[in-house]
Symmetry: none
Subunit: 414 residues, 2 copies
Amino acid sequence: MKNAYIISTGTELLLGTTQDSNSVFLASKLMELGIRVIGKSTVGDNHEQLRRAFTVGIESADVIISTGGLGPTFDDLTKIVACEIMGCRLELRTVEEQKLRHYFASRNRPMPDINLRQAMFPVDAKVLKNTQGTAPGMYLCKNGKILILLPGPPREMTNMYLNEVEPLLKKDFGYDMPKVIRKNIKILGLGESQVEERLSELMNCSEGCSIALLAADGEVHICLAIEDTGAHSSLDLLNDLTAKMVEKMGKNVFAYDDETLVSKVARLLMERGSHLAVAESCTGGLLSKIITDIPGSSAYFWGGVISYSNAAKQLWLGVKEETLLRYGAVSPETAREMAEGLRQSAGTDFALSITGIAGPDGGSTDKPVGLVYIALAFEGGCEVRELKFGNGRDFIRILSAKSALDLLRRHMEY
Amino acid sequence: MKNAYIISTGTELLLGTTQDSNSVFLASKLMELGIRVIGKSTVGDNHEQLRRAFTVGIESADVIISTGGLGPTFDDLTKIVACEIMGCRLELRTVEEQKLRHYFASRNRPMPDINLRQAMFPVDAKVLKNTQGTAPGMYLCKNGKILILLPGPPREMTNMYLNEVEPLLKKDFGYDMPKVIRKNIKILGLGESQVEERLSELMNCSEGCSIALLAADGEVHICLAIEDTGAHSSLDLLNDLTAKMVEKMGKNVFAYDDETLVSKVARLLMERGSHLAVAESCTGGLLSKIITDIPGSSAYFWGGVISYSNAAKQLWLGVKEETLLRYGAVSPETAREMAEGLRQSAGTDFALSITGIAGPDGGSTDKPVGLVYIALAFEGGCEVRELKFGNGRDFIRILSAKSALDLLRRHMEY
């Protein structure tokens, strides 16, 4: 598998105001060709920093792609530095010079001499046409390395990559480029280290397959990738490994690949033709928001209540005053009455409720910040769960909403 | 001026699917301290690539900050590699070990041995507390360089930077850092080019002051910055310029500096001792979610209804069937009945309602995607506004929620 290194140049990328979308685009496109990005570097318009970045790139990757620094001004150094490191001399190309002169003449503007730099290239480089601006790009194969210089403005860069670079890479690497097949196993209910422990025995039967764990907002994703040799064996190995991993993770696996927790729940609800209503206290609308992020959610989402005050719990959900006084708003009893009361008044198949203490204030020794109760009311019953989270208000709210969705997911799936 | 180099680690950052928001945050915060980022590097969980990145960082900058790779698993290599390059040995800290054991014990989970790695640090390093997760960070001054290791999840990283790293950097670099004073004027209700047009006359009296416009999610921010020479003149110039700009922008200015639209509304509600309830259709909980993002919002937020279905509008808000049949769910009449019905049943001072077509489906010639009605019911009246947005479901939902908050803000403020 070929490797690539991406260099983004431009002082504006270091000020903390601009996202570097170019490198994300390039990484995803290269991946499609089976070229793996092993590193990225962002540098200002600084000779020494550029030199270091190109040196690392050339030492570690087969393909080095840079964006930016191809303009005509004194601080556009990319081509000069890159060619210096590749050991190439820049020479004036008359064809390119004529194009530049024509560009300026057609706009009735004099061409500053400094612009001639844009017409200079090493003898053996291919010049890449810029249909969206003046700075041409460059493609050079030398000493087994491919050096590609692209302009910085995203529209110019993406057009040049798609029209000029991609066909050249396909040609130079032929059709024998290894493709990668992937599987993403998504887990809720186990911590990252628990997942790793359960995986440990499988590590030795995963030869040829790269395994990465990604943990975010309570989910753990097992990301599997294997080179597609065209033979059945790679796909078989991936499927086999996936099946073994899923067995180890049990019901905690909620989805694969691009499916998310909420889209999985949406799919299960639609397959059954079921409707859902929700009652939220500490999550304050977050669960409803996540559900309605999905276009078309009105097909299965009836609506909900943000019962942020006790009065709202009584008025809309029929929670008894006695329950609130005796057990408190954050209690399994209140969670149950919220879900059951909601299901009754809304007339839906399912009703989820969440009540808890998201903090930072409002906790006590008995009921600390992070204590949350969720309940699912369904035909003939109601399940209530106690949850304990640390880690701050946002985390508590997100995990509470996800746990409620997961309670419904498990109920429908098993 | 001091220099910094940022290293972001994590294979997921190289796949072309994830933006590295951490390095953008860090660059902007370091800039505030007068520390300039001269380069950034992104690498996978790979020993050799990490080594190269830390080597470049240490060779070229005074401060080296990395994010990611501090987890407990086999592919979390950052601390090991960084300490190797700094020539430091990792030793087990019993205090950190105890914290970890306590963390697992309090969750009734066994601690895998591999987690002990998170309790190992060089002798002379400061351990940075992670209030949002398990992986502690590290701050090390050695050989005139400052090495800072932060966790990868953005919430953990930003909290650790603000609470732990920023004070240490301020202390280590003393008070001789060049200071900049800033003013941020936040506007809702004018487009970026409208703001620019209104500003144009003021551009020539802004000497010495940098002016940038930032547009995001319907808001336009005018960001003013001036070097603080210690004399009164810079502050006077900034205040004078701010006053002139605010006059040009009128009631569209909703807040300054760190205050957001929702925190401004929260402050106004609390100052009056007023309570708010909300009824949401197309925003599906987003407005409630934004309101309850703020800790302590139960002081003024009563609760709300997600009236995603017509049945919910009738049941909880008392919207008349006739109104729905005659004018439709997306109409000024329905918006008004939602707000008035809600205010009556909840007994709050204010009730906001939102009904609209967020798309991508559900639009018609008469009522296209992006048509939204918002209403504010208050003592003695009700204001209804028609809004038209383009740009897709997420944008329509966010702008609808913000416009509703802004309707309330203008009502309370003027």
